[in-house]
Symmetry: C2
């Protein structure tokens, strides 16, 4: 999808946000990302995500009353803040149980920063997700920000470790940018654990567009976790 | 600021979003990030940023009518979309002139994904910014996502190149994670161009919290740019 097609899709209401592709046939193994719900906070977050994209697509030349829009949004924020738990309570709630996170900035259905990327396990022990990114993720003209590619890949390598059965925290990550990564086109993000040697885990991944590799990642992870808050 | 202090600040309305610190004494040189405006789209984006944080802080247990909130947000999105330029028009507008970008996901005042990080040039040719991150940027419990650190550093290294006078695109980026990077505390993000050898630019940077280095970055950039759309 080029910029013009993206524009038409937005006007028809079909792709004002990063668009997850249909899931491939599932493979047996742990669930890799939280299942988005059509109601509750996930619904409001999905709407917030559409809003973030719409603001960037609109810019300052539309004549829309942005001060009034800001006031409307702040009214919603005020209502949410009034009813919110304290941050320590919320952290404890977020990290309860052993399931996948719902809050993270890559796959999290409760995080409007997340495109979101939906990752699936494959039979060869690698994982994969397809995502189309819009203007919020732009770096160079019409292309994905290099740091956004790093964000997607760091997270995907972490999830690939989970899929392979030995997780850890990132110790070192090397990204190589082979060609610009396009906005408005489906990107395939993959990850695969290569080796576990004592506490050292090596994992690789890449982002491809139209079958061509745009960015590769090599990660070294160490097999430890921060304690979950209680 | 720990999680409890962050919570109190949010309730008093003072820090529901990433909080840029006061600017240090300016040093002569090119402006490094766009100046945020208090009206226009920047005001609506700042409100959207507060909303993204409030949704994550609220979660699903507040009893707020999230379906109604989603409908309110979609009404705003609908109005913006109606008045928006086409994507090709918007891209041309975004990239007009030679100034700093307003759209990027790290410093951009028009991008609700950006914390935003405000960067300043220093006399030793390095650059620096201070930012406090909230729940949208969480990876491990109570800490910054490793990919978010990569995003901040990739961008900061690029801006350090601009400050030094020779810019380029990221070819390779290596991140080393020395200790977990805390949420809710001021983080100092720095970048410095180390060398220019033909078209190859080497640049380094780091994120510190309370004077201790959390993440380092080494980047190789090549002195070329993608064409700006017209």
């Amino acid at each position: 999808m080029n910029a013009r097609a993206a524009d038409e899709a937005a006007r028809s209401g079909s792709a004002a946000e990063g668009t997850p592709e249909p899931a491939p046939t599932p493979v047996t193994g742990p669930r890799l990302v939280a299942e988005p719900r059509t109601d509750g906070v996930d619904a409001a977050v999905a709407a917030a995500r559409r809003l973030v994209t719409a603001l960037l697509r609109a810019g300052d030349g539309t004549g829309a009353d942005m001060t009034e829009i800001a006031a409307r949004l702040d009214a919603v924020t005020g209502r949410l803040t009034e009813k919110a738990p304290t941050v320590p309570e919320r952290l404890a709630e977020m990290w309860r149980g052993e399931g996948v996170t719902r809050h993270d900035p890559v796959t999290g259905p409760e995080n409007a920063i997340a495109p979101p990327l939906v990752l699936h396990g494959r039979e060869d022990r690698s994982i994969e997700g397809v995502v189309t990114l819009d203007l919020p993720y732009q770096g160079p003209p019409g292309h994905v920000h290099g740091g956004v590619s790093a964000l997607l890949l760091d997270h995907t390598l972490g999830v690939a470790n989970h899929w392979a059965g030995t997780s850890g925290m990132t110790a070192e990550l090397t990204l190589r940018y082979l060609r610009p990564t396009p906005l408005f086109e489906p990107l395939t993000v993959t990850g695969r654990q290569v080796s576990v040697d004592g506490s050292r885990i090596r994992t690789v991944g890449e982002i491809t567009a139209g079958g061509r590799v745009c960015v590769t990642a090599e990660g070294l992870f160490v097999n430890k976790q921060l304690p979950r808050p209680s």
